[in-house]
Subunit: 221 residues, 2 copies
């Protein structure tokens, strides 16, 4: 059984746990204690020098980013469902993995990290939260407009079925209210979120079902 | 022939032009005038709502990020060289595409954008450059340490051959001096850069061969 290093509040870790639930994959979960900065401990850096979760170890294979872990698990466990054998479809999926890494991460992700966790824990560090929050909010709103337009007339982002591209974009978009960014204006995005929530074996992450949720933040002063 | 929307100083566009040169792919290049904000013109947003280059249009297929374009071109033009048919290898490559999107983009990329172009043009906007530069520099240096360790004892990042993962990480790493981040301490990184520069049909982007290069910046006050 592969080992997934994870952190309960990490949306990027949740992406992998969600795909594993959809595909019925058992993973040995090892929780990394972010409050204690365990992700930067020598033991963990020996596994993932990037100091990030999720990290997947499967025998002598190690994957250090949610995008590669999603691809690996989907591609090895279920042909042509969440990943694809066809390179044109692969590129279409990667187009949305890239959107998640750029527009979502440095947008709604960052706003949530600041508002609900006093972060950001990722990106450009912990300084200057006020300016960063303003920029992240602006970029988050633009990303939601782009998404809403992309989902106007189609059910899923990359292909005619849900793929890892949907999972990668979904998580922090659905958690946008935790960063004080409303999903109300984006009807197509909200319908797509409901479609994902309706998939068999779906389970939520903390905060997903409560727009007013704020985590008691042990790092915040 | 596919159309590539590009911008001369865009390292992300250069990644695609470089792969095309390596593979002997002819592309119809259309220059987007960033000085005139053409990437946000209605005509261009109709092609790529993200307002970014590179963008590739091949018949009715559109790819809106360098990662997906690299995958598409490599996968459709040359089996198992720069991309792979094998899902485990694909995931290993995507692990480095993700590193480029996260660690490189919001690190040495951002430092270059600020120091040499008065940006950033991407990421969290144009405010607060001093703080952003400090954070980007710190993150850039960490990314170079991670890379140097990864390249200790291996020639290429993902597999035993160069892949699109190498191209994706290479460009802004090699341009780090444009963001006042020295490559001097990272011998394995420098050797890897030389290996890429030595590949048949390699050509440089502006600033690549001159560590003191700064672009005369029309946007800077």
């Amino acid at each position: 059984m592969a080992t997934l290093y994870t952190y309960a509040q990490s949306g990027n870790s949740y992406k992998v746990r969600l795909l594993a639930a959809f595909l019925g994959i058992d993973l040995d979960l090892k929780e990394i204690d972010f409050i204690d900065d365990e992700q930067h401990s020598p033991d963990f850096l020996a596994i993932n020098p990037r100091g990030e979760v999720p990290t997947l170890v499967d025998g002598d294979r190690v994957f250090r980013d949610s995008a590669s872990i999603l691809t690996y698990l989907a591609g090895t466990h279920s042909k042509n469902t969440w990943w694809s054998d066809d390179v044109v479809e692969q590129a279409a999926i990667i187009d949305w993995l890239a959107f998640a890494a750029s527009w979502v991460q440095f947008g709604v992700f960052t706003a949530r990290a600041i508002v609900s966790f006093g972060g950001p824990y990722n990106g450009l560090g912990r300084e200057s939260n006020e300016t960063t929050l303003r920029e992240a909010t602006k970029r988050g709103i633009t990303s939601l407009k782009i998404l809403d337009q992309a989902l106007d007339g189609q059910d899923w982002l990359a292909l005619g079925r849900p793929t890892v591209g949907d999972i990668a974009v979904f998580v922090y978009v659905a958690l946008a209210p935790m960063g004080d960014i409303s999903l109300e204006p984006y009807a197509h995005v909200r319908a797509w979120i409901e479609r994902i929530k309706g998939l068999p074996n779906f389970f939520p992450i903390e905060g997903l079902d409560d727009p007013n949720y704020r985590r008691a933040n042990p790092l915040q002063k």
